[in-house]
Symmetry: C2
Subunit: 428 residues, 2 copies
């Protein structure tokens, strides 16, 4: 991963090279804490060890019995789904990958009707084995399989914790089952048994992915000027402190749309605490130049824009044309056009003093994606250290979970009472 | 459309009922300006007349010759694509709808390879007829059709301005061609010849859509307490002034994901000017409860969350289960679970003093979507009046367009020189 901070400096909010130099001492300290956390495999820090600790053979063995499925259906939510979606979207492969990460009846019904369930492998992912959305969807999927005359026990793979519902279910029905890794929060689990099985089923190059991640891990050092991941994390932190409350993540590659969504979870859930934390905004280049760029360039000066691209793209030439005023496009390639738009947008933001960071990988392939995901995880952990937040917890989501459970009659939770006390000012 | 401002009051940032009462005088003035602009069909305001001015018969006639295509491919970018995508995602229908709104060679190639071009209708949309991304993609699509032995002139529909490349092309090859409506910026064109043709090809209820929009138009009045659209626009404006620089648009319906993206363009490009403008963030309930909610609840107090849902959903029961601790889910429906999550999240945000607004429609159907899109457009126009920005222009996107064109050898543009002067601070 290459991180270019040139355009992050001297914009508005203003970050200077001198401020980065001063911050570097704190990066060195943070790096030591991170290294110690990794050495002790402490909660969260253990995620940065995954390239070395994940058992790729176990993943391959768990999926070996499903020969060449047409479709893989991931049933999970949040970190249990986004990593897998990111990998298959970026790396393509031999299967159609669908995700059930919501409980919208309009969607679940339509999706199940459209699938050939006999050719589908279902991957159910829940650490606790009790996530309401995931288990509800799984119950619906299981019934749909039974109704279609498909033996669901032959088509289901489970990733879950050591105990709980899903574990018992796997044991009772002899389902292939993988362990969620210890000490790895869901949003840091893309390079683990949570997401790799789908990539393996799709025929992705798992070793390449882990090699890329390992290469990025090897670049972590006590200076932000020597580690692309830390350069990114430190610059984001420093810019937020100076007023860049928004971080627009804008890859210039369609196959990285899910990456931007994965990043948004990583950033929001890890860093949104104690009244700090950048708001991640998912964007897509060049498309969103015609949507968000007006705001980034001319709106409030509270933004950092992160521009991501591969250095190499496939070659698709634009045909020659005699259309008025368009002859300049003929002989150019789509990739050349997209890269020109990338560089023009970057310059356009810089000319308007909007800080922006260029992040590049060589190609959108297993190695590049391994670098990118690991790099962003390490950037996030560093940011959390510098901001002194509890990067690996998500206490604020629990309140709503208890309220929902109370509403559904799943126990006595005072939070549910607050729902009935909603203030109303209805305009209709 | 129903707008409930109850939870927008007395949070942080703090907006009071009294402040809304005071603002209502300005809403009355703004409504008069809007009404005058509509009466004169002034640029931009004309968009709010579309339910009455669009020629639905002309749309139907233009698509009549394409009998039952399997697939429709929209080639356009920004407002030329997002409205159509929003409509077909929300309303479903008989065709698969794909969008080429980017120039990523990896994506364009893969998509074209996967389509049966002989059963595909291509809808090319560009007001000027010279949009680089759109025309490049169209040239590639046209060549792919020719290579596949398909007569592209039999499969292409055009929506464009009165003159320009696409217009001449349509005339030369006798293609069905529709006019982009006068005075309607792309991001306000969902209810026009820009997006309706695809909806018509998909068999959507165009009249229902326009009826819904008309019903919302009829509710515009000189008081925010009588018009759902103005209630939303005025509350967003007042909250931004008080510090809610972020507006997270979070529909609880998978089929409204594109709606959130359409909204993001509407909001960002219309209001992001003169150093003001809320940053729209696209979210999705319940999925993003496991991603963004931590930040909304515990991060900086600079946010408004907009929660959107239909009041009625299809019925999909959750099967009974003897799984430990999950029996409370059995007999419940997926929609019941999703609505419990909606209300729990709403209460959870309120309990944390995070302002939120509930927006509802009766159902995700043509009438409801007509209300919702028109309502959000009117809300945006009102916000623009209150903030005194030039709602219907997008000057900041032009700089980058000129730079890109210069880079590609399409003329002498000084902006292109700035690209070569990029500052570098590369960490690798």
């Amino acid at each position: 991963m290459y991180v270019d901070l040139g355009n992050a400096l001297n914009g508005q909010p203003r970050l200077t090279r001198e401020a980065l130099d001063r911050l570097d001492d704190r990066v060195a300290d943070a790096h030591e804490r991170i290294a110690r956390g990794r050495a002790d495999a402490d909660h969260g820090y253990a995620a940065l060890n995954l390239p070395d600790t994940v058992d790729a053979d176990a993943v391959r063995a768990a999926v070996a019995d499903f020969d060449d499925p047409e479709t893989v259906l991931t049933v999970g939510i949040g970190g249990s789904a986004l990593g897998a979606a990111t990998l298959t979207e970026a790396l393509g492969g031999d299967v159609d990958h669908y995700i059930l990460d919501n409980v919208d009846p309009a969607h679940v019904g339509t999706l199940l009707d459209s699938l050939s369930l006999a050719d589908t492998v279902v991957h159910v992912v829940s650490r606790s084995g009790t996530t309401a959305e995931t288990l509800s969807n799984f119950l619906v999927v299981r019934e749909a399989m039974t109704d279609a005359g498909v033996d669901w026990t032959e088509r289901t793979l489970v990733t879950t914790g050591e105990a709980g519902n899903l574990r018992s279910l796997a044991e009772r029905h002899d389902l292939p089952a993988l362990d969620v890794p210890a000490g790895v929060p869901g949003r840091f689990s893309a390079l683990s048994t949570v997401a790799l099985p789908v990539a393996a089923l799709a025929g992705a190059d798992i070793e390449g992915l882990l090699d890329g991640a390992r290469a990025e891990a090897d670049r972590l050092s006590g200076s932000l000027f020597e580690s692309p991941a830390y350069a990114y994390g430190a610059a984001c932190y420093a810019l937020e402190r100076r007023g860049a409350g928004v971080n627009a993540m804008m890859p210039y590659a369609e196959s990285l749309e899910y990456f931007a969504e994965w990043f948004a979870q990583l950033w929001a859930e890890s860093l949104g605490k104690d009244a700090v934390g950048q708001t991640p905004v998912r964007a897509l280049g060049a498309t969103d130049q015609h949507s968000q760029l007006q705001l980034y360039r001319a709106g409030p000066r509270d933004k950092l824009v992160t521009l991501v691209r591969p250095r190499e793209r496939p070659e698709v030439p634009i045909p020659e044309t005699d259309l008025d005023g368009l002859s300049y496009l003929g002989g150019e390639s789509l990739g050349g056009l997209l890269d020109a738009e990338f560089e023009a947008t970057e310059a356009s933001l810089a000319a308007a003093d909007c800080p922006n960071i260029r992040v590049e990988i060589d190609r959108v392939d297993a190695h590049g994606i391994g670098e990118l995901l690991y790099g962003m995880e390490a950037a996030c952990v560093l940011y959390g250290e510098l901001a002194n937040v509890s990067t690996f917890t998500q206490p604020a989501v629990e309140w709503g979970k208890r309220a929902a459970r109370g509403l559904l009659g799943g126990g006595d939770f005072p939070e549910a009472d607050a729902v009935g006390e909603k203030r109303e000012l209805l305009v209709e």
